[in-house]
Amino acid sequence: MSLSVPADIEKEIDERITHYPVSRRSAVLPVLHILQRHFRFLSEDAVSWTAAKLGLEPIQVLEVVTFYPGFRQEAPGKVHIRVCRTLSCAMAGSYELLDNLCQAAGIDASRMGHHHPFAVSKDGRFSIEFVECLASCGSAPVCLVEDELHERVSPETAPDLLARYS
């Protein structure tokens, strides 16, 4: 197994596992979240590592990874942007926002699919994902750049937004 997990991350994971004393299988999701946060996506090695950690079979972890579009099996760009696609935001222009962001970042949006819901720019700097409600409907349209929430983003400002992260 070639995944090298830093000691502090492993410590955090070990601690998190103690929250699930009954079934180690329940700890799969939190462990994957921590690993994805650190590695930015979940490689096959990450899947095997998680399985070994929890005493599960790799495929029992893989099926969870593939079930949730929120888990990425490929590396995103350096800056990952999540644009809300749900009703309030959609009505307030999030589809346009997505298009503009993609154009400004040089991303081919046609490569986004249901199970591969994001696409990466050619230079690898940006990736954009069209996601369900980000729980800030009142300030639609919204997007998350990494962990930073941007509210009332009007579609024309897409290039400016990117520029702030370049």
Partner: protein, 926 residues
Amino acid sequence: MVTLNPTTHAYLDGQLLAFQPGDTILKFVDRHKGRGFVPTLCDAPQLDPYGACRVCSVEVALKEDGPRRVVASCHTPLSAGMHVHTQTQKVQKLRRNIVELVLTDHPLDCLTCEVNGNCELQTVAAKVGIRKVRYPEGKNHLNRQKDLSHPYMTSDLSKCINCSRCVRACDEVQGQFVLSMHGRGFDARIIKGFDTSFEDSECVSCGACSQACPTSAISDIFQSKAIVATEKTRTICTYCGVGCNLDVATKNNEVLSIQAPLDAEVNFAHTCLKGRYAFRFYNHPDRLRKPLIRTNGHFEEVTWEQAYAHIVENLTRIRAEYGPDSIAGISSARCTNEENYLMQKFIRAVIGTNNIDCCARVCHSPTAFGMQQSFGTGAATNSVEDLQHTQCILVIGANPTEGHPVTGAKIKQRAMKGVPLIVIDPREIEIVKYAKHHLQLRPGTNVALLNMFAYFILEGGMVDRDFVGSRCENWSEFEAGLRSLDLDQIEEVTGVPREKVRAAATEYAESPASMSFHGLGVTEHSMGAKTVMLIANLAMMTGNIGRPGVGVNPLRGQNNVQGAADMGCQPHQGAGYMRVNDPAMQRLYQDFYGMPVSGEIGLKIPEMFEAARNGRLKALWLMGEDVVQTDPNSEAVKESMNALDFLVVQEIFMTETAKFANVILPAASFLEKSGTFTNAERRVQRVNAAVPPLEGTKPDGQIICEIMQHMGYPQADYTADGVLEEISRVVPFFKGATWEGLGDNGKQWPVKEGNVGTPIMHLDSFKRGLGKFHFFAWQESQEVLEHGLEFPYILTTGRLLEHYNCGTMTRRTGNADIVVEDVVVINPADAAKKGVTGGDWVRLFSARGEVRLRSRISEEVKPGVIYTTFHFPEHLVNNITSDVHDSDTLCPEYKVVAIDFERVGSGDEPAGLPIREKGRAHTLPV
């Protein structure tokens, strides 16, 4: 009028009926109306309820006129007094619509589909009344690629209905976790491993998924679910002591495919790849089809009559000249009880000697001997079914997932459900992954380790004094022995820290029910029988005898190794284990056979070989044994074969041993014969011929009957039920067994009057009265003492899942495409010392000879220990194995060989050895 018992009855479509505790609604309906009354798609009897398809929907209400709810019956528990409505318009409409939607994404090419007529989707669609699909064609998955990568398993996922039955079969039945549902919603699909092919996945081709799949989405190259066969025959697998039941589909006297019966108590819809798929050896062109007599150094085809006449002439001559003890027979644990019985009868009553033995000598003779010393009976005390009741599993010197795959899968399943598992084995075998304790001892130190194990039970005050006091004897000697142990020395020789042993011993002793399994890693040692007695000690001192979920359970290797010994293929005991040198028993056999029999104990196999070499043994009859390839120290065995005056071999293929024969008699395989096999849990099961013997061949039993007749003995012609009847009159524990009464699932012996079997033995007392403790101090193997300095590594041998013994059969099947050679496993530290990298050719040499094998580097063995299999006799691993034997039973010590090794070349070089290429024809170098 039936009165409502509120705890046991519910209403089924208005009718008040009884249910059983734990019933789901579907089980309740199935029991009263038959399977299929309520349609199902994702449910299967061999799997846990799942509730994915909702085709089994029914309406339920708590009161007669109360509000109704639609629920999936397969996974909804039934409660008392519930009203279940299975045929309302509402549920019928619902079912129809579900199936209709499934069909929108299913190729409608039933007429050309391999399972046409035996497809559950087809059946259910017809049942719910679908005539046409109303929905327009939409997005679908009809263009998915087939996976034909594997020698056996196939998939065509355009036929998949996402019921997850295959996934659950792989997880719940086999425990391999190869399959899974990838993604979700419309994109959900079945994957293998990390989304690869069957060939590249970890699949062990057990076929459980194929059998569970309701359509042809997962299948196999034999198209096992197709209904082209005209006949189905239930029989027993020939490959191991688990004794799986098989349903063999045939047409025009040819075997088409094999499935596992759903009602088989032993293997409930499960097999391993040997039982289900490795059958094509039976009509292989290499099969012998004519009797052969050696004349002037080559074999000539003769008629059966000529062969018999030649045999009679020679055996009569040799007996007259040198006496009956100059003749010997070796029977086969592959053959049926009836054939083994006849073979020993032929040798004892017709020839007049006790020189009869069988291949149990090279595997489990120490088990039979050891358990007889401790308990009085040399057989498993409990049943595999007891795994459901046990609370601690101890596996010693056995690799069940490879050697006894179906039992291995059950052990694994229990361990995954949290039953603590203790593994005592020099190697990190597959089940170690699921084990709570692994005591990785140095090969050859079982006795030392088990002594320490027992010591900690004693020291921890965990001895069951009541059991020991009331049911056992010789405790004080054993206790004194344990107290005299030198734990430091044991730690040093075994290489296992004492705290680990203490923890495992505590687990075993404190669990309310502990069950042990052992295999050849216990018996094939110089102290094999003694180790077995120590395992019996552990069970006795903790009171783990005579209840469900406990006991001492040998995992016996060959399909009928239990039966061969039961039937008397041993030099010291006749049919039913009566001692031949006891005058009363001699008289009993004499009266029964109507012939004088010898009261002298006969020769064991290694003694026969020796007697042949020094001229005392003149003639040998071998039934289905390739001793040259499978017995240790091949060169000496060959010398013995050469020294014989007359050798008769009954075989299905021209084996290395058969080449030495004077007469070769072409026998029939298990698929062509009837009789009974006794599995490792003493279960006597019926073997039924699925096809007639290949032209020119005869079943072994018939051959023996005919030779007895030709020698002038009035033996009746061979019939399975006739010989079984004869056996039941002499073998006490077969007393109540009849062919009819054995039924589909067989009976566990002792079979009492009226075909009553015995799942658990020694309930209130032991066969020998009191169970006897024995103490033995550990002794270093002679092999290590003599050669250890010069050859510092210990070679230990084992088996693979895919092959059977020297591969005579499995290597003539697709299994040869899965595993192509024996390799030697070396610890990275040792490999580094000798400059070996993975795949390199390595020369192993011992005091007796050398072999060259390719290497695999792995930490599954500890430094100092080398491991290999010996399924590929052309590698001649037995050239280096030793002549050391178990001191009590002469079982050879295959598990401890002192060797050294060196690198002889990189993996690309052929190193003068044939490398079997993948996909090469399944023909063996002869």
